[in-house]
């Protein structure tokens, strides 16, 4: 762990900053999340560092609370997406035959429908609560993880040590969790960084369209939606969440890149 490159350090620093900000939001935010404290769209001042929003709430506080919601939803959804996607994907590769065919074609079917439209349809007929949001996002995204996990596992599955385990008489669960998963973990973890960012964008998009996090709860997509009319008058409030998403995306990806580099160098030269 001593040789962390500068880019990864920067990434780690900002990622940690965002996650800590999310964790300690009530302590950090100067005002309450839904508290109206000033005029509409006040410019930034010593009192309101980032100014106020469309109904006079402190924007900095809303950004911090919004980050908390967005990052929480994205994190849990990513975890759901990874556990289901990876386990089912590796299972498909190990089982092979018609089980693999059925699972893979089913995933193809889901993937053929644009994710956003699928999510909008599902969320318009179900009550929009945070757990429901997380579940829909996680399961829809797990199709992507399934593809990756299956592709990686198919390559590992044909190696002699897996054959040796089968010949020993091991059960499928052992082969998935003890033989294949530890070897598939590196590319999956690297992919996780990217998928997390897609999740942030996904939940922001849903909120922007009004089917994500419901007001007065704050989240980054919601803040854009509430303040978008201000852009016409030169009010930058709607751009702040965009800036937050961009920096979070870049820093998480710097970390993901580093993980990827580490995994490729593990294999060594001509080994």
């Amino acid at each position: 762990m001593k040789n962390i490159p500068l880019s990864a350090l920067v990434g780690l620093f900002f990622t940690a900053l965002y996650f800590l900000g999310a964790l300690f939001a009530p302590l950090l935010a100067p005002y309450g999340m839904a508290e109206v404290v000033g005029d509409v769209w006040e410019p930034s001042s010593a009192e309101f560092w980032l100014g106020t929003d469309n109904i006079g709430r402190d924007l900095l506080s809303r950004m911090i609370y919004g980050g908390r919601t967005t990052i929480f939803i994205a994190t849990v959804a990513t975890i759901i997406s990874f556990t289901t996607g990876a386990v089912v994907g590796i299972f498909a590769a190990v089982a092979g035959g018609w089980i693999d065919q059925v699972l893979s074609r089913f995933v193809d079917l889901i993937m053929s429908i644009p994710t956003l439209i699928f999510a909008l349809v599902v969320l318009s007929v179900t009550p929009v609560t945070v757990p429901m949001l997380i579940l829909v996002m996680g399961l829809l995204d797990s199709t992507r993880v399934f593809r990756l996990a299956r592709a990686v596992a198919v390559d590992i599955e044909v190696m002699d040590f897996v054959e040796a385990a089968r010949l020993r008489g091991e059960r499928t669960a052992w082969i998935i969790f003890r033989e294949i998963l530890p070897n598939a973990l590196s590319p999956l973890v690297a992919e996780m960084g990217l998928r997390f960012i897609f999740m942030v964008l996904f939940v922001s998009t849903l909120s922007f369209l009004g089917l994500g996090v419901q007001p007065p709860e704050a989240d980054w997509g919601g803040i854009v939606k509430e303040n978008k009319d201000g852009i016409v008058y030169g009010i930058p409030a709607a751009l702040l969440p965009a800036f937050a998403i961009a920096t979070l995306a870049i820093s998480v990806n710097l970390v993901a890149d580093w993980v990827l580099n580490r995994t490729t160098s593990l294999k060594g030269g001509r080994g």
Partner: protein
């Protein structure tokens, strides 16, 4: 030392950056000051085990370092110029023009999307040595000289349309096409079957003689290098062990290490007579792979007796590994039965009892991929103990240590990962994993072919020793007849999916031979100068790989 030398290497030092797990990357020196001269028309054999630095030296003569390898000191003179001091553009002219290279795996080195001819003439045309027409004419001449069939049209084929031995000869033509002064052969016959190797070897030797080119011949097989070289340099850990004419190295080696190389495979093994009940009987097995329309095995019958070794010999494609897959149950046969320890085995391994699985273990050719890189040696050996015998905690640990002692490693290896082991140590761990199950029989699939001769020798001795202690039977699959001589009690020679010859070792290896067995036996390189010519002169049949 003269100035006519094509290649003159002085005090060559090569370094590399290594990345040991858990430590900082650091520089190490892998070649420590090598010097030699190569006159026009002469062949120098570089020999040594893996890691000796022989390929690295070969590439350094083209001023190239592969991967993180860097030339850190010394001089390399080609035709009177120190190429390590040359500009990049000059080195470009050198490579593929004055110095060319033949790699080990022609199949991996040719571009599968382009015809052979395009690739053979590319360097010669690119370097401006010949016009495209002349280069193609020269290539056809070389194809004929190298004994390729239909030399006028073979260039129009794609790499996958010729056999492995032919492709290796095409690559030799590629290297000779630009009329180089020096060719570097890097293990050109190692990946080939013995019967094919001999033809390629002869072709290379004649081509070198006829074109008068100088050559560096890199290999780990002393018997092979003795056939083609004028001088031999024995390398070990990046140092010169011994350097001299072939005759002296082969017949009167001075250094202990060279003597060991020359006398390798000195194992004496008395064959045992068959006992009453075989532990394994393969009866009338015919098998084919799913989705194909021809049988890979035809009516195979062999027996293996308890505590003995049955060697299954043949070249690639003879069906010997398929036989192992049928016995283990990975490939259920179309016809026939397998009797094991008095029971009839279910064709598919999924339906076999845990006892059946336990008593029939397997050791693989590539120890690298036969072990999970994310498990420690302790876990790898401990799992069968836990799985078959329910051993846990201190008892399991005790047994793992016993097994590590049996394979001559030690307790300290328990927490190592496979990446931290050498090739021979890896194979030993695989042996321990098989033994942990206390099997009646172990299938050894080419277990020594990926190892250096001295290391392989150690593994064979260990296997023989363990056979005495544990009374386990081996089904030993190999293409290497020297190995067979060393350890077998019974031999089955396989050819095109059939058992060509089967019986006790002494019978199988004594005349009269059938044509195939004769070809196979005579193709094993012997450490004798002039052996190659003798064999070619006395051959009765063409090898299948041609």
């Amino acid at each position: 030392m003269t100035d006519t030398a094509v290649l003159k290497v002085r005090d060559l030092k090569i370094g590399a950056t290594i990345y040991p797990p858990g430590e900082k990357p650091h520089e190490i020196e892998i070649v420590h000051g090598i010097s030699f001269d190569l006159e026009p028309g002469k062949v120098l054999g570089l020999i040594g085990e893996s890691g000796a630095g022989k390929s690295t030296i070969g590439l350094a003569s083209m001023a190239y370092g592969r991967g993180g390898v860097e030339i850190t000191g010394g001089e390399v003179w080609v035709n009177g110029r120190d190429i390590l001091q040359s500009r990049h553009s000059d080195i470009r002219k050198l490579r593929g023009g004055e110095v060319t290279y033949v790699s080990q795996s022609a199949a991996a080195s040719f571009n599968p999307a382009r015809t052979i001819m395009e690739q053979v003439v590319e360097a010669a045309v690119e370097q401006g040595k010949f016009s495209r027409r002349d280069a193609e004419g020269r290539a056809r001449e070389l194809f004929a000289k190298l004994g390729l069939p239909d030399p006028d049209n073979i260039g129009a084929r794609y790499p996958h349309q010729v056999s492995g031995g032919q492709l290796q000869r095409c690559m030799t033509a590629l290297a000779l096409c630009p009329e180089p002064d020096l060719v570097v052969f890097d293990e050109p016959t190692t990946a080939l079957d013995v019967t094919t190797q001999i033809d390629v070897l002869m072709a290379i030797k004649e081509a070198i003689r006829d074109t008068g080119v100088a050559a560096l011949y890199i290999t780990h097989d002393l018997a092979v290098v003795a056939q083609v070289s004028d001088d031999i340099m024995v390398l070990r850990h990046g140092d010169t062990v011994e350097y001299g004419p072939v005759d002296q190295i082969i017949n009167t080696p001075q250094e202990e290490y060279t003597q060991a190389l020359v006398s390798v495979r000195s194992i004496d093994h008395e064959e045992k007579a068959p006992t009453e009940e075989p532990v394994l009987s393969v009866r009338n097995i015919t098998a084919r792979y799913k989705g194909t329309k021809f049988d890979v095995l035809h009516n195979v019958n062999v027996d293996l007796y308890p505590g003995q070794t049955l060697a299954v010999v043949g070249e690639s494609g003879s069906g010997k590994s398929t036989l192992a897959r049928v016995i283990t149950g990975l490939l259920p046969p179309r016809e026939g039965e397998i009797h094991f320890a008095g029971r009839t085995l279910t064709p598919d391994f999924n339906a076999r009892s845990r006892e059946d699985l336990r008593e029939l273990q397997m050791i693989y050719q590539m120890a690298d991929v036969a072990m999970n890189p994310r498990q420690t040696v302790g876990t790898i050996i401990g799992r069968p103990l836990e799985f078959y015998f329910g051993l846990r905690g201190a008892k399991k640990r005790q047994r793992i240590i016993e097994l590590l002692d049996e394979i001559e490693l030690g307790e300290s290896f328990m927490d190592r990962y496979p990446a931290e082991l050498s090739g021979g140590q890896k194979q030993r761990v695989c042996i321990a994993r098989a033994l942990a199950a206390k099997p009646k029989m172990i299938i050894c699939d080419e277990v020594t072919s990926a190892l250096d001769p001295l290391v392989a020798d150690g593994i064979l001795k260990l296997l023989l020793n363990l056979q005495k202690i544990e009374d386990v039977a081996y089904l030993f699959i190999t293409h290497d007849l020297a190995t067979v001589r060393a350890i077998a009690d019974n031999i089955a020679v396989m050819y095109k999916g059939k058992v060509q010859r089967y019986g006790q070792k002494s019978q199988v290896l004594s005349p009269p031979f059938d044509d195939y067995t004769d070809l196979l036996l005579s193709s094993v390189p012997e450490m004798k100068i002039g052996w190659l010519e003798e064999v070619i002169a006395h051959r009765k049949m063409e090898s299948a790989g041609n």
